[in-house]
Symmetry: C2
Subunit: 156 residues, 2 copies
DNA sequence: TATTGTTATACTCTATAACTATA
DNA sequence: TATAGTTATAGAGTATAACAATA
């Protein structure tokens, strides 16, 4: 049995490191002129081209009116395009533009550099163990493997 | 060498799980009528009674004006008391009231239950490994062992 | 009548700057 | 003149509700 101080420290560490990792990622994407929520939207649209705003809201766990603001901003910067669906003209189909795909490519590079930086102090065995344990925890809590958090309520 | 998809997944998992853990902790402390930032302040004051607001701001990584709001709220609820320092009447010495100590006790119980819930799916060996790896990472990034994140800027 | 997206609006959180009281 | 704390204020992010277009 693990003692109480270790019990306490584990959740604390997870929260601290998760926050640290997010903040560091935010710094990096800012170099691309993006905020973290932009990055998540681009990622989701690159994998699911043609998604409607409503689908996107559902997937991100937020409300449609928030998606309007997110997409307005990305559209203004020429990274995402809205086109009216021909099947149902109420829908907007969302897709990355060419510039959006290019930014998405840069984002992949940034994500990889981010990972390398974060886990540079671990050896291969430690990384493998950490990956296994964190994946087990995430699966247990039903976390969506494609969606970054931070689209609803206030982050804590 | 670990392959690229594993690299990527690790930081992603850390952010997801950290956010999940914070959100779950926020739910639990809400049962005590607190928000997470209250919990961190109570914790710090219980270990450092007599702290000034300026010291607290520095420790939390935020600005003095934010501390005013945090302490106002805790004082209104009778959990923290301000007393003018006799050495330097510009300073407020901050201390938990009796009710504040009682709430702090309840908070310890909640923190422990939180840990048990989060890591229930792991066996002792996995917990030990996770603890070692996370502690190594946190130390490498210079994270303060006593301070929860979330007092500056916006959560991500 | 129901649904998609939009707008208007309000609320919370946080930071900056000006202010007061003490030193 | 400098420092601790406070107040006023402004900005960002997010949600709710009312609305227009389409089904």
């Amino acid at each position: 049995m693990t003692d109480a101080s270790t019990w306490r420290r584990l959740g604390f560490l997870l929260t601290q490191l998760g926050t640290f990792a997010s903040a560091r990622f935010a710094e990096r994407v800012r170099d691309l002129g993006l905020v973290p929520s932009d990055a998540g939207v681009l990622r989701l649209l690159s994998r699911n081209p043609g998604m409607s705003q409503r689908d996107l809201a559902g997937r991100l766990g937020t409300v449609p009116s928030r998606v309007v603001v997110l997409i307005d901003s990305l559209e203004d910067r020429g990274l995402v395009a809205r086109t009216r669906s021909q099947n149902d003209r109420r829908n907007h189909e969302l897709r990355l533009t060419d510039a959006g795909h290019a930014t998405m490519g840069a984002l992949r590079g940034i994500a990889e550099a981010h990972e390398r930086e974060l886990f540079a102090s671990l050896d291969d065995e430690e990384r493998r163990l950490l990956q296994g344990i964190l994946a087990k925890l995430a699966a247990g809590f039903g976390l969506d493997a494609e969606v970054h958090p931070g689209y609803s309520e206030r982050g804590q």
